[in-house]
Structure formats: structure tokens, C-alpha cells
Amino acid sequence: MSADKERILASIESSLAHISKTDFVEVFRQNVPFSDGSILFKMKIEWERNGGYCYDPLKNFDDLFFTLSSHFGTYPIGETIAISSALKPFETILKQRFPHKRFFIENGLIDQVNCSICIATAGIVENGTILVHWDSTQSRSIAVLPEHVIYLLNSKNIYETMDDAFNALRLKGISGWVMIGGPSRTADIEKVLVTGVHGPKFVSLLILEEEFYDRA
């Protein structure tokens, strides 16, 4: 009996290997105009297709601060900004660069803040989503509670398919996460799309190139 079960599962898995992964990769290869086919740009495009905003991949601190300041300029962002404690090393430097903002390390409840910066664990090109996990350095609510959320993503952690990304997280021993694809939305009233229901209305993704991320 158990051999039989194994056989069924094996045949299911072998059929899974053929389907549904290859297809969309082809589709977006055709859609993506970048000749270098860089996975970073694909990530950017797919994230934006979901209604988020994504800056070009960042190479160094100057890029980062420039992007952040233009971001703070474009969106109505309040004075206080919560950052996840994983970003502690940045705290002082951020405070120096943006003296008129108040940055504080989140403490688990940030309902008064309308903007937060947190770390995305992985990016998935297939559907333009990111995975955010929680642990001692980052709370569950920081990724969804404020109206604006800025996610930082290491370019090394971008994967083509959901399967790859989930596996990678499991290998890291992470057991709970949320997959986020764009701003919180609803179509419950007459099928009209409204963003920003319970979660953020504006979601921005900053992709940091690997070298830079490591240095930072």
C-alpha cells in the first residue's frame, strides 16, 4: 500500500515538473524588453504590474538616499517612520541624512505611523511578489499596517518561480511568511478596484544590488 502511495505521488510530481513553470517564463521573456534579460529588471517590471512602485536597482548609499528622498518628496509621508530592527545599522545614517524625519525602531505596534521600511526576504519574478517573514528582528505587522511600506530586497534573493523561492526560505529554516503582491486591494463594491483597504495603499520596492547589500 505504501509503495503504491509513493508511486502515485512520484507520478504526480513528475507531471508537475513539466507543467506550469516553463510557460510563464517564456511569456515574460517575450514581454520584457531588456536585452540583458536581467532578473532584477524583470522583478521591477512584474512588481509594477501588480500596482506597486519599484526603483531601478540601487548600487550604493548615494543611490539609496537619493531614491528615498525623492520618495519622501513624492508621497505624503508623515514625520515618523518605523524601521524594522533588522535595519538598525542604518538608523544613525538615516537620521543624519533626513534630519526632519523621525526614525524609530519598531516595537511591535506601529499603528500611529503611516510609513515603514522593512526587509523583504525574497522576490519572485513569476508573479511579481515578495516574501516577507517575521522573526526577532522584524514584526508581523510592519509589512502591512502602515499606509506606505518600503521593502528592501537583496538582489541575490530574487527567484524565478514560487517553487524556488519557497524552497529557499525553507532551507533557511524560516517557517512563516507572507507573500505580498502589490498594495492591499478590494473589488467588493461594484467590482471597482480600490487600493489600500486594511493594508498599505503604496508599496515601494527598493532592490539593492548584492555587493552593496552585503556592505551595508
Partner: protein, 466 residues
């Protein structure tokens, strides 16, 4: 029988729905939209059919090995620190929840959308026991304010237009009147945000439960599940026992298919993978997670070889969107938490044939539902099987129909009778007696038989040729 279940009033409620122009407009528009986006979204894959086959086989595997998988799931949950409860029926599920809540003296409860909690009428139960329950999914919140059950699996307030919602918010919540969906959403957000922050417990459903890792997966767009499962101290997930997947690695396939079938999205905005309660060093999260595995006649369905495949369903709602009957009758006509073709199939099984004997007949068997279902639930065949069972129970069908089919049987199984009845019918139609067949002729012209049947003509012709 609970007064809130009224599937046998299908005709009456459906008639009311048909006369309600607002409802018809809202439904038609919404259903066309859903169908269109779904059809577009599945174009992403050239091998959609193969995906359906694979999904079918995976779900089927679950049903075939549910006993072991449940134990495996439980074991893994316990290892993760999640508490698992089994509930045999609606009442025991409600009691279990009551027990969990009262032991922590939790009073204020936020709920995210879940058809399973509708199935056991949880809100009703909790409210009558003194709890404060608020639905947090926007659509569900709207219908809760209206004291109505949801009318669609994925869009509970699909039957309302913005005017009705504006009126509702204005009257019930004393908010400034606005018809702008954006503004309305904002109003709801503000109110519900407060509820989230003060809630003692969160109750949610489950989309998939992975046996090999003990993870539960919940899918949503608004972010309310995210908040329900991370802000309050207790999280209770109500999970039908058929929601198990054997392995976590099958999830991507289902996520791809479910989002596209349900709302035409590539992927839902939030897909929550939850496995353990808050750890000592973590900043927030529920201290306790309870998973309640609900049977409520599912194991009985499982035993029924002919009908068990309706348990494959992953509640995407695609079959509702294509169903012409649903589009006209509306979700409330089905009188239970599941509606449309899937409702017509599982409601009679969940609450008993005699309590829902009209539903399987509420279909033209156009088979559109079977075609869109991502997990290949053979809906039309199941409807037929149910009809057969109902026809076998003498008391459930009108005697007229039975006699009718007896006559029809004589007529068509014996040539002589057929010829005889042909003549009778000829007379009948000559003298306008066909008008007497009321249900047909109230709305349609009476049938007119041709002066000579083909059979008669053929005989004549061959005779002449000879």
C-alpha cells in the same frame, strides 16, 4: 432545522431576485466581469488543461488518504506549537471555539472571511453568547451590517450597488453620505482598524493545510487576514478536513490556479503561510494558534464513492461566475453558505437531501461549471447523481412529475403506445389543449405539433417509392 437555512425556498427567493432590477444589474455586470478576467488570466498558460489534471490528482490523493494525512498534519502542528481540535459537527465546532475564547476571557473578536464559519453559523452563535464579532473583509462587513448572509463565495456583497452600500454606511454608522467606493472603503478602514487594535481574538478560515509541514495557507487581497492573524493574542483557524494537501511543494500550482480562477489575478495580494505562534523573542503575533478541523458530514460525503469528488473543491467561485442560474437567482436563493453549482452539489450532502431537494434541479446542465473548475469537480455529473437519489425518494418529487415520466416511459418504450399517443397529441394540439400545460405556456407559446409526424411522412414516402 436552523431557520437560517432555507434551500427549499429556492424558487421563491429566486423569483424575488428576478424582480429586483438592482440586483439583476449588479449581478450581471459583476459576473460578466469575473468571467472575462478569468478567461484572460488562464491564457497565461498554454497547458491549463494539464494543470487541471495535476490539481485534480493531487486533491484526489488527499481524499484517498485523508485519514493518514490528517494525523500527519496534526502531528506537525503540535510540533510547531499549534493546538489542534477536531469538531464533529457545527455545534461542537462552535462549542470548541466558545471554550477557547472563554478560557482566555476574550470578548472582542475580529473575523476574516471564511465560508466554513458561515457553514456553522458562527457569528450567530458567538453573538448570542455575548461576544462582539466583527467581520473585517469589506464585503463581508457590508453584509454583516445588513444582517444578511454573503451571496458569493469570493465577493460576499456582489449583489449590492454602491448606492445601497452608501445608504447603509450612512444609516448604520452615521457616517457622511458618499457613493465613492474609495471613500466608502476608507470609512470602513478607519472603523475596522480600531477593531483590530482592540481585538482579543481573531478567527479565520483556511485555504490549504499542508500535511508535511503543518503550515496553513490563507489567501486574501485586503490585508485583513494578515491583521486578524497577527494582532490579537489568539488566532483560531477553522478548517474543513478536506483542505489538506499532502505536500507543501504542491502549493505553487494551486496558488497559480486559484487566483486566476477566482478573480482573474495572477496572484492574490497576500498569501499567508502560518505555522507557529509567537516565539518568546518575537515582537508581535498571536500567542496561541488553534486549528479546528471540522467534519460536519464531510466524512459521510467521503464514504459516498459517487459524490465524494465534490470535496475536491477549493472554493474559487469560478463555477458561480459562469452559472447562468446563479447570475439570475442570486446567492441567497441557495439558502446556505455555499451557492451556485457547487452549492447545489454540496448543500444537499451537508444538510441532508430532504432539506435541499430543489437545489440539484436548479440547473440546466449546461456544463459550463464543470469546464471552468480548476480542480475538475465533475459538477454536472454530480447534479445528475443527486437528482437520481432524490427521484428515488418518493416524497421529494411531485407526483405529477412521476406520473408524467411513467406515461412518457410507456409512450417511448413501446411503438404501439407511441402511435396511439401521437394521435392523442395531434388532437390535443389541434384543439389548443396544449395551452393547458401551465408552467410552459404562461410564458411561452404553446407547442404546435406538425400536422403529420416525420414517422407518418416517412411511412407514406417509402410506401410510394415502393
Amino acid at each position: 432545522m436552523n431557520a437560517n437555512f432555507y434551500p427549499n425556498r429556492f424558487s421563491k427567493v429566486a423569483k424575488e431576485a428576478l424582480d429586483n432590477a438592482d440586483l439583476q444589474n449588479a449581478l450581471t455586470k459583476a459576473m460578466h466581469h469575473s468571467q472575462m478576467v478569468r478567461n484572460q488570466a488562464v491564457q497565461d498558460f498554454s497547458d491549463w488543461e494539464e494543470m487541471r489534471n495535476a490539481a485534480y490528482r493531487i486533491r484526489k490523493y488527499t481524499l484517498d488518504h485523508l485519514d493518514e494525512l490528517l494525523l500527519q498534519f496534526e502531528e506537525n502542528c503540535v510540533r510547531n506549537g499549534v493546538q489542534v481540535h477536531y469538531a464533529w459537527d457545527a455545534q461542537s465546532a462552535c462549542q470548541t471555539i466558545h471554550l477557547i475564547l472563554s478560557s482566555k476571557s476574550a470578548k472582542r473578536i475580529v473575523k476574516s472571511k471564511s465560508m466554513t464559519t458561515e457553514e456553522i453559523h458562527l457569528n450567530h452563535f458567538l453573538e448570542s453568547n455575548g461576544y462582539e464579532v466583527v467581520e473585517t473583509d469589506l464585503g463581508e462587513y457590508i453584509v454583516q451590517l445588513r444582517n444578511e448572509p454573503p451571496s458569493h463565495i469570493t465577493g460576499p456583497a456582489i449583489h449590492l450597488n454602491r448606492k445601497q452600500i452608501a445608504d447603509l454606511f450612512h444609516q448604520k454608522l452615521q457616517l457622511p453620505y458618499t457613493e465613492d467606493p474609495e471613500e466608502l472603503t476608507k470609512q470602513a478602514r478607519t472603523i475596522l482598524r480600531q477593531r483590530f487594535l482592540t481585538a482579543d481574538a481573531g478567527i479565520s478560515g483556511v485555504n490549504f493545510a499542508c500535511a508535511d509541514s503543518g503550515k496553513i495557507v490563507i489567501i486574501e487581497n485586503e490585508g485583513n487576514v494578515r491583521l486578524t492573524t497577527s494582532l490579537p493574542n489568539i488566532h483560531i483557524a477553522l478548517c474543513g478536513i478536506e483542505k489538506i494537501l499532502a505536500k507543501e511543494q504542491y502549493l505553487p500550482l494551486f496558488l497559480r490556479m486559484l487566483a486566476r480562477s477566482a478573480t482573474g489575478q495572477r496572484i492574490n495580494v497576500y498569501t499567508n503561510f502560518l505555522s507557529r505562534p509567537r516565539q518568546p523573542n518575537e515582537l508581535d503575533g498571536p500567542k496561541e494558534i488553534h486549528v479546528i478541523l471540522l467534519d460536519n458530514n464531510r466524512s459521510k460525503m467521503l464514504k459516498d464513492i459517487e459524490l465524494r469528488e465534490s470535496l475536491l473543491c477549493i472554493r474559487c467561485g469560478a463555477c458561480l461566475n459562469v452559472c447562468p442560474i446563479y447570475r439570475r437567482a442570486g446567492g441567497h436563493a441557495y439558502g446556505y453558505s455555499y451557492m451556485g453549482p457547487i452549492g447545489a452539489v454540496i448543500t444537499p450532502q451537508l444538510i441532508g437531501l430532504q432539506n435541499a431537494h430543489l437545489l440539484p434541479y436548479a440547473s440546466t446542465l449546461c456544463t459550463a461549471c464543470g469546464d471552468v473548475c480548476p480542480v475538475k469537480v465533475p459538477l454536472p455529473q454530480q447534479l445528475l447523481t443527486l437528482r437520481q437519489r432524490i427521484a428515488e425518494q418518493a416524497s421529494l418529487r411531485p407526483w405529477l412529475e412521476k406520473v408524467g415520466f411513467k406515461i412518457w416511459k410507456w409512450m417511448f418504450s413501446n411503438n404501439a403506445f407511441y402511435v396511439l399517443l401521437t394521435y392523442l397529441l395531434g388532437f390535443a394540439s389541434k384543439f389548443g389543449m396544449m395551452k393547458l400545460f401551465k408552467p410552459w405556456s404562461t410564458y411561452r407559446a404553446p407547442l404546435r405539433r406538425a400536422p403529420l409526424t416525420f414517422r407518418q411522412q416517412w411511412k407514406k414516402r417509402t410506401y410510394h417509392e415502393r
